[in-house]
């Protein structure tokens, strides 16, 4: 018995190490693609910068509404910009997967003795690194514009956690669609669904300020919890939306559940691609 158990453990270890190596290799390729194909990443970087700058100025007056949870519009819109950028980082890797499928590179990956899971974990690591890069750039711009983290470093951590969460969800969704559509039609569906999911939330004003159908939809949209998680470190301390466990756990649960669901969606899509 012991003689059979040892090779099994060893095989598992080998597989794990091979998965990690392959995932890391694919992650580095994803990062190198930023330099090789900047047009694929630049929009994901420009979008949050633009959202932060344009929204903060155009809609600055909304902070004058009675009960608005912050007196600085940039505090309100910077997390939204980061969430948009992280979402684009995720679906952007879905676009890359489509391109690889169309050029035949994916067939070569599938034929190689690479663990299947690395075809998902590799892009996931890239999406996280891109999301971190977006956070660094946008937070720097935000600080120049006068952003104030009311809860200190914990507020930065919750914003980054939300950013990584959205990148994970959008990557799973993007890859799942890429493996099913296998052409650029999938890209339009990725962008549209991501855009709608993020906008059908209190993206522009706090939930109590929304009315009608948007209020009804935003209340049940799990992305609302993720946005709350992202924003809580920038909200005035006196507001009920400021940093607290009550404003945190909902976002973490939403990230966990949506990440698991979308990564399963991607894994099943990959299995279909294999068939």
């Amino acid at each position: 018995m012991s003689t059979t158990a040892i090779p099994t453990t060893s095989a598992k270890e080998m597989l794990r190490s091979s998965t990690l190596r392959s995932s890391w290799g694919l992650a580095l390729r994803g990062l190198r693609n930023i330099r090789r194909l900047p047009s694929a990443f630049v929009p994901a970087m420009l979008m949050p910068v633009f959202t932060t700058i344009a929204f903060s100025g155009t809609f600055a007056a909304i902070t004058k509404l009675q009960g608005f949870p912050t007196d600085r519009s940039v505090n309100w819109f910077m997390p939204l910009g980061i969430c948009f950028g992280s979402a684009f980082s995720g679906v952007g890797l879905g676009f890359s997967a489509i391109r690889d499928i169309e050029t035949g590179f994916y067939d070569r990956l599938r034929m190689s003795p690479t663990p299947r899971s690395s075809l998902i974990f590799g892009p996931l690591i890239t999406a996280w690194m891109r999301a971190i890069l977006i956070c660094i750039v946008v937070i720097t711009i935000g600080l120049i514009m006068g952003v104030r983290f009311t809860s200190g470093i914990v507020g930065v951590a919750t914003l980054i956690a939300a950013s990584l969460g959205i990148a994970t969800i959008c990557l799973g969704w993007g890859l799942g669609l890429a493996f099913r559509f296998r052409d650029m039609r999938g890209a339009a569906v990725m962008q549209l669904t991501m855009f709608v999911a993020l906008y059908l939330t209190p993206a522009q004003v706090p939930l109590p300020f929304t009315t009608g159908w948007l209020h009804a939809v935003a209340r049940i949209n799990p992305v609302t919890n993720i946005l709350r998680l992202a924003r809580q470190g920038l909200i005035s301390k006196s507001s009920a939306d400021s940093l607290s466990w009550a404003n945190t756990w909902g976002g973490l649960v939403a990230i966990l559940v949506l990440s698991v669901l979308t990564l399963i969606f991607a894994k099943r899509g990959l299995a279909k691609l294999d068939r």
């Binding site: 929009p43 420009l46 633009f50 344009a54 929204f55 100025g57 155009t58 809609f59 600055a60 007056a61 909304i62 004058k64 509404l65 339009a188 709608v196 906008y199 059908l200 993206a203 522009q204 004003v205 300020f209 929304t210 009315t211 009608g212 159908w213 948007l214 209020h215």
Partner: protein
């Protein structure tokens, strides 16, 4: 070539251009769906902002957003026509038109007229889509007619500028690449929020941005009623952009022909 023949050719090319836009639902549909989506979204997001100091007197945010919806749709739609012209250049159809006994200006004007018709139709559709939700146009039917004409002129002007890009680059991708520029211009204007509520550098940029004046002309017809000032802003400013864009596109056309 007689004037009558040139006119007939231009009309034929206008018809073709209109059909070309309608045949690309994947490009055309977003120019309808997104502005209406944003109108619905803004109405329920910014409903309470209409009481802010400096905000114009309106019945609802949707009434304020009608002009924004028209401008967004028309601007996005006008790219479709220019992209179709670039595609004609890419596939060689444009060269075939050049070697045919066709009036050179007719090739361009036909395309622009197609965009203008589409822009006018878009304006009418947006107005009809929002009227049932309690949006009141203070200037009544004459104002709506002016808004539709203005929508057509704006589409013509922007399409002319984009056509200049199409003729210079011969690439539909380059024309589509100009889309973010329009997006930036839209956000740094008074399209989504009134200039009176802005401050500092944003107010200055919005004041210099011509898009602000296009939308404020239409907004004046919706909120203030029929006035000479509103008509002037709704018609003369777009006409100025049309003249500038058409001259630019024609000079690019001449440059392209002489280069061949």
């Amino acid at each position: 070539m007689t004037m009558a023949v040139a006119t007939r050719q231009t009309l034929a090319l206008t018809k073709r251009s209109t059909k070309a836009i309608l045949r690309q639902p994947a490009l055309m549909v977003p120019s309808f769906v997104f502005p209406l989506f944003f109108a619905a979204l803004s109405a329920d997001s910014f409903g309470k902002t209409i009481r802010l100091p400096g905000f114009p007197v309106v019945d609802s945010f949707l009434q304020f957003a009608l002009a924004s919806t028209v401008i967004q749709g028309v601007l996005f739609g006008s790219i479709t026509g220019a992209a179709a012209l670039a595609t004609d250049i890419e596939v060689g159809f444009f060269d075939r038109l050049l070697v045919a006994p066709t009036a050179r200006t007719g090739i361009l004007l036909g395309n622009l007229m197609g965009s203008a018709l589409f822009g006018g139709a878009q304006s009418a559709i947006f107005i009809c889509a929002l009227l049932p939700f309690g949006v009141r146009v203070e200037s009544g039917i004459p104002g709506i007619v002016v808004m539709i004409i203005s929508g057509g002129l704006i589409a013509l002007g922007i399409s002319a500028i984009m056509s200049a890009v199409a003729i210079r680059t011969g690439s539909a991708e380059a024309v589509q690449g100009a889309f973010p520029l329009l997006f930036v211009l839209l956000f740094f204007s008074s399209v989504f929020f009134p200039r009176q509520t802005m401050h500092g550098v944003y107010k200055t940029i919005a004041t210099w941005n011509p898009i602000s004046y296009l939308v404020e002309g239409l907004r004046s017809l919706i909120l203030d009623g029929f006035s000479l000032s509103a008509i002037a802003r709704s018609i003369f400013i777009p006409t100025g952009i049309c003249v500038f864009g058409t001259v630019l596109a024609l000079s690019e056309l001449r440059r392209r022909i002489s280069a061949k």
